[in-house]
Symmetry: C2
């Protein structure tokens, strides 16, 4: 559990949680959201450990290090993922302080929903099923469904958790949800582009993987330039959701830019 | 997810949740505890799906049916387990009604803790590591540690969740915790005995498994009669914890008896 959590990574999800909490609750909101921020990184790490397993994407490199099962064996890797997932919920329930318990229950519901059949797991199942299929069989609609669930769901939950803990109104939470869905899709398109254009060394994970398993991606459906343009468009739309908050949303806005400017 | 949830099973854990809720909250307590009861069965089912995987116990029969990965493949089985685990938390958070949200947060913390490194996953890691070791290397102390975590932790969480939702005092919750720890250990000893004495057909899972992987068990350390006697002793101690409640605890008491009298 420690090995994969401490392997680094961009920490985009906890940054999103804390930025959302800061927008609606300032310093106190950020402090209250810290257990949720830690939890979303635990959930993300669990999903990486399990996705990298031989029975799934069968990857041996992640965050520049050997994957969990390469180091500890498949059995321990499966259990480390299970334990990290459970610890995420335990941590939010036990370590969140100074927050109305109704809001804590709400956050736990949001985090639970983003992992399951209508979240990470559902998206990954569809992703696995679409491997090796031709362009005609996997449409833009299917691809967007996969990425909305596999990638955007946890980013949305990360932002919503931060906003909820900090006491945001339903309207504000709704705005953050739209913002995070759009940057979630942009994030995945950027990932697809990097898989084509970058090296394994820079990525810290195996590059060229999508083509190797004949996976339909945004670059394949839209071309590299088309995919890049679509990601920029989504980030612009996402940032427009924040206009109503003015300069107070500067950190969230910078996170949106980082999503497509990053090199790994 | 549905396939494994609906494959049957004894439903001991949800029965424990509902019996504990009934003791402290009557009919209303039972109704309030239903989402928690469903959640503990989801968590148990997740642990069975993952434990049966080829990388773990590699079993192809469970509850009289082919195991999840035999039917759906290893990738989907891993994801179904992940999704069931997350759904357990989501369901408690979203479907529990008429309960002080502080108690709901408490239940979610208890459920999270029983799965992780100090619960199911930790117990399973130690169990896997003890396979193939000789009698001298796995002591009664180690074996009790494994079973306290691998088996008793979820039974304890099941009872505590029911009692907590129904408004039990800290003292009552403590008593239920002791009761469930003892029947948890008795339950595992009974499992070990059945693995030796029963057939796969009656068990609905592969029998003789422990000896096949050279696993240290209670029957091996204490003999069959010694193991049976220890289980009966634990059940008697467990039932003594309930004396203070008189006839009101009849269902919990019957559950304790069922633990060692069951045939599968």
């Amino acid at each position: 559990m420690k090995y994969s959590l401490r392997a680094g990574g961009k920490r985009v999800r906890p940054a999103l949680t804390l930025a959302a909490a800061s927008l609606f609750g300032g310093e106190a909101g950020m402090a209250a959201a810290m257990p949720s921020a830690v939890a979303v990184e635990m959930i993300h790490t669990m999903s990486l450990i399990h996705d990298d397993l031989p029975a799934m994407d069968n990857d041996d490199l992640r965050r520049g290090l050997p994957t969990n099962h390469v180091v500890y064996g498949e059995d321990v890797a499966i259990l480390a993922g299970d334990a990290l997932l459970a610890l995420a919920f335990e941590h939010v329930a036990k370590a969140t302080e100074g927050v109305d318990p109704r809001r804590v229950v709400s956050v736990l519901g949001v985090l639970g929903a983003c992992v399951g059949a209508r979240g990470l797991a559902g998206g990954q199942v569809m992703d696995l099923e679409s491997e090796g299929k031709g362009d005609g069989e996997v449409t833009m609609e299917t691809l967007t469904w996969i990425h909305t669930h596999k990638t955007a769901a946890l980013l949305v939950a990360s932002a919503v958790a931060g906003a909820t803990v900090a006491g945001a109104s339903d309207e504000d939470v709704g705005r953050l949800r739209t913002f995070a869905t759009k940057i979630g899709l942009a994030f995945q398109i950027a990932d697809d582009v990097l898989d084509v254009t970058s090296s394994s060394t820079v990525l810290g994970k195996t590059s060229g993987k999508d083509e190797a398993v004949n996976k339909v991606t945004y670059p394949r459906l839209l071309g590299l330039d088309g995919a890049r343009a679509r990601a920029e468009e989504l980030v612009a739309e996402a940032k427009a959701c924040l206009d109503v908050y003015g300069d107070k949303a500067a950190v969230l806005s910078e996170l949106a830019d980082f999503i497509i400017e990053r090199r790994n």
